[in-house]
């Protein structure tokens, strides 16, 4: 550090130590030592006194449930446990039927450890994307039971999730019934699909101008489109990707599906589509007015998978008589899940 002869540099070093030592004010150190316990006690006294001790029995039935992820929320409702939900994440909160007053614990991919532990849940039921992994580990270390639902697209994924949620919530019988119903719905839809006709379908996630985010291969959208008898117009892309205007033009989808947060079914007519994406406005889908809006939960792959599948199949194959009749029944019984293409 000092570029001189050794002797003088040693002298300077010694001098520096002396100065540095003199700078340490022992009164200050002493005062800090005195102040520390004082401040600690003061702060402790003023700290909130709450938190009654709650002892939990590991084998007790699940009375306090936290759900994270769209499918987890829907499954809690479908399995009849909505009233036990004491915390939801932002994506699970969209599931119809959950108590609106349940505290929000953030987003499923950034779960807070202490926030969740503070809710004292008997079970945290989450979809596979839950994280961060450190948080899940810490929660388990705290003795919180965390169950992640299996990943997977399409009908098989939905069935696996239903079975796993049923096991986790000790509602196996109900889960089997729901799975049976879903299988039946899916088979019915498949039976009605016209053979050999597979229109191209583009699934648009982000209804907000710019390059739209579209569902490529290996997405929940891709699985749903193929099950509903369509061909994914964006299959060349992997995952959810923004698609350029030129590529949109070239893809020329025959059906466009819009499903996102903030989308009201039936909202996207030809006019608004033209305003957002001029390239899409000239597509076969827009020309024939086959633009459908599905509700945001359509991609969660939960117990209502069959319902969304039927709605999409009807949009892709409007001429299939069986689908239309089936859907008319549904509309009469529990309300529409997808509107007629808007003209």
């Amino acid at each position: 550090m000092i570029n001189r002869g050794t002797q003088s540099s040693r002298r300077i070093a010694r001098e520096r130590w002396r100065v540095a030592f003199a700078a340490v004010n022992f009164t200050a150190v002493a005062r800090v030592c005195c102040a520390a316990p004082f401040a600690a006690v003061l702060a402790l006294v003023f700290a909130a006194c709450g938190g009654a001790d709650a002892t939990r029995d590991a084998d007790a039935p699940i009375r306090r449930l936290v759900v994270a992820g769209g499918a987890a929320g829907e499954l809690a409702v479908a399995l009849g446990r909505a009233q036990d939900v004491v915390g939801v994440d932002l994506s699970a909160a969209r599931a119809p039927g959950l108590p609106l007053s349940a505290p929000r614990v953030g987003y499923v991919r950034s779960l807070p450890v202490e926030g969740l532990a503070a809710l004292r849940p008997d079970l945290v039921l989450a979809t596979a994307e839950a994280g961060p992994p450190e948080a899940l580990e810490q929660l388990r270390a705290l003795g919180v039971r965390v169950v992640l639902l299996p990943d997977g697209h399409g009908l098989d994924g939905a069935l696996e999730r239903i079975a796993a949620a049923g096991d986790a919530l000790f509602e196996t019988d109900r889960a089997i019934a729901i799975a049976e119903e879903l299988r039946r719905e899916s088979t019915a839809v498949r039976a009605q699909l016209p053979a050999g006709v597979r229109p191209t379908v583009l699934w648009v996630l982000q209804p907000g101008g710019g390059a739209p985010l579209v569902g490529g291969s290996n997405t929940a959208a891709d699985g749903l489109i193929r099950e509903a008898g369509g061909e994914n117009a964006a299959a060349a892309l992997e995952g959810w990707k923004p698609m350029s205007v030129e590529a949109l033009w070239a893809a020329a989808p025959e059906v466009i599906v819009v499903a996102s947060i903030g989308t009201t079914p039936g909202q996207h007519g030809h006019g608004s589509l033209a305003k957002l994406w001029p390239a899409l406005a000239d597509s076969p889908a827009a020309r024939t007015a086959r633009v459908v809006a599905l509700e945001p939960g359509a991609l969660s792959g939960g117990p209502r998978h069959g319902e969304h599948l039927a709605a999409l199949a009807r949009a892709i194959h409007p001429s299939a008589a069986g689908l239309a009749v089936r859907d008319a029944e549904r509309t009469a019984s529990d309300g529409p899940s997808a509107k007629e293409p808007v003209r």
């Binding site: 800090v32 520390a36 006194c49 709450g50 938190g51 202490e114 969740l116």
Partner: protein, 369 residues
């Protein structure tokens, strides 16, 4: 430049006549140091006490005493014990260490480059760390995630940050000398290049990876666990120690490089040491917490306003204030949106910005009046 760095000749001239013993410089520094230490201590205690689980005061003391071997506290499986010892405590330790290291790095680099706008990320460190983290989230986690487990993200960010700094210094140096202006400009250029790489990775990323990156970039102490701390704390501690030990070198460098050389400071060696120590601090911090802005830029300025530009007093105060700032911000982050958690970067900026303005105006009023 001198005024911006907290040079206080005007103040001292005015005070020379005042002669209030409490106002004498040494006492003032002592008082500020003491106040900073108390603030940190209160912050630590407060952060231990608050949180969404609302642990009662009796339980808190019982668990704390049991942890240091006095009395037998609750059994190992107890949730409150776990929350206190394995959630809150590591976060507080990490927050204090990161805050202190970032503030020290900021103070050192501001003096070294004699530029008040410098923050530790300016020499490319943060951009490199971000690139490393984003590459890991987008490509690495799926491919080699099993190898490093939960540490992968931290390691990738750490390597990115260190690599960036090595590159910057390598580019900026010529014939053994590192020119300040070139150092800053190379840092800016490499930051742009790294940002381009980050942007391209984000373009290739899927929806989930995008969300992960968003949360990472907002910063959080929630990754703090004792095993992770065992790796990160030595890095932060070493960097902080090196920086604090350079107080007199920094004082000399404030005069200018030629003057520092004349005083016997080996400027080119010291410069590399200072940049390396700062980079180590930022890299270790960024790996575990994401990018936490503001602390490294503004805390040193605040400390300078309180105790002046002499680094022997400035560095400890900056370290204490930086530690206190992050510990308090994290306590707020855990509490305000409970049971959800706010990103800590929002709080440090939202609370620290106004505090800094108050300091600024108070100082101006004093100088005017």
């Amino acid at each position: 430049m001198n005024a911006a760095l907290g040079g206080r000749p005007l103040l001292r001239m005015r005070r020379g006549a005042a002669l209030s013993p409490w106002r004498r410089r040494g006492n003032r520094r002592l008082a500020v140091l003491l106040a900073s230490a108390t603030l940190l201590l209160v912050g630590v205690v407060l952060a231990l006490c608050v949180g969404p689980s609302g642990i009662g005061i009796g339980r808190l003391l019982e668990i704390a005493l049991a942890a240091v071997g006095l009395g037998d506290g609750p059994p190992a499986g107890d949730v409150e014990r776990g929350v206190l010892l394995h959630v809150r405590a590591p976060r507080i330790v990490l927050g204090a260490a990161v805050g202190a290291a970032l503030a020290l790095a900021g103070a050192a680099l501001q003096a070294l480059l004699r530029n008040p706008l410098v923050e530790p990320g300016l020499v490319g460190t943060t951009a490199g760390g971000t690139l490393g983290a984003v590459l890991w989230i987008v490509f690495g986690a799926g491919a080699v995630g099993g190898v490093l487990g939960g540490f992968g993200l931290a390691v990738a960010a750490f390597l990115g940050a260190l690599g960036a700094t090595v590159l910057v210094v390598a580019f900026a140096g010529s014939r053994g000398r590192v020119d300040n202006a070139v150092l800053i400009l190379v840092g800016v250029a490499l930051t742009a290049i790294f940002s381009a790489g980050t942007g391209f990775a984000l373009f290739l990323a899927d929806d989930q990876a995008l969300r992960d990156v968003t949360f990472w970039s907002l910063g959080s102490l929630s990754r703090a666990t004792w095993p992770a701390l065992a790796v990160v704390l030595p890095c932060l501690g070493a960097a902080s120690a090196v920086l604090i030990a350079r107080a007199q070198v920094l004082d000399a460098l404030l005069l200018g490089e030629a003057e520092a050389r004349a005083l016997g400071v080996r400027v080119d060696v010291e410069k590399r040491v200072l940049v390396a120590a700062s980079a180590l601090a930022v890299a270790a911090a960024v790996g575990l917490t994401g990018s936490i802005g503001f602390v490294g830029l503004i805390v040193p300025h605040g400390a300078r306003m309180l105790v002046g530009a002499a680094h022997r007093a400035l560095l400890p105060v900056a370290a204490l204030l930086g530690a206190a700032a992050l510990v308090l911000a994290d306590a707020g982050a855990r509490t305000f949106a409970a049971p959800a958690e706010l990103p800590i970067g929002i709080l440090t900026a939202a609370v620290g910005g106004p505090c800094f303005l108050v300091l600024l105006f108070a100082r101006r009023a004093r100088m005017a009046g």
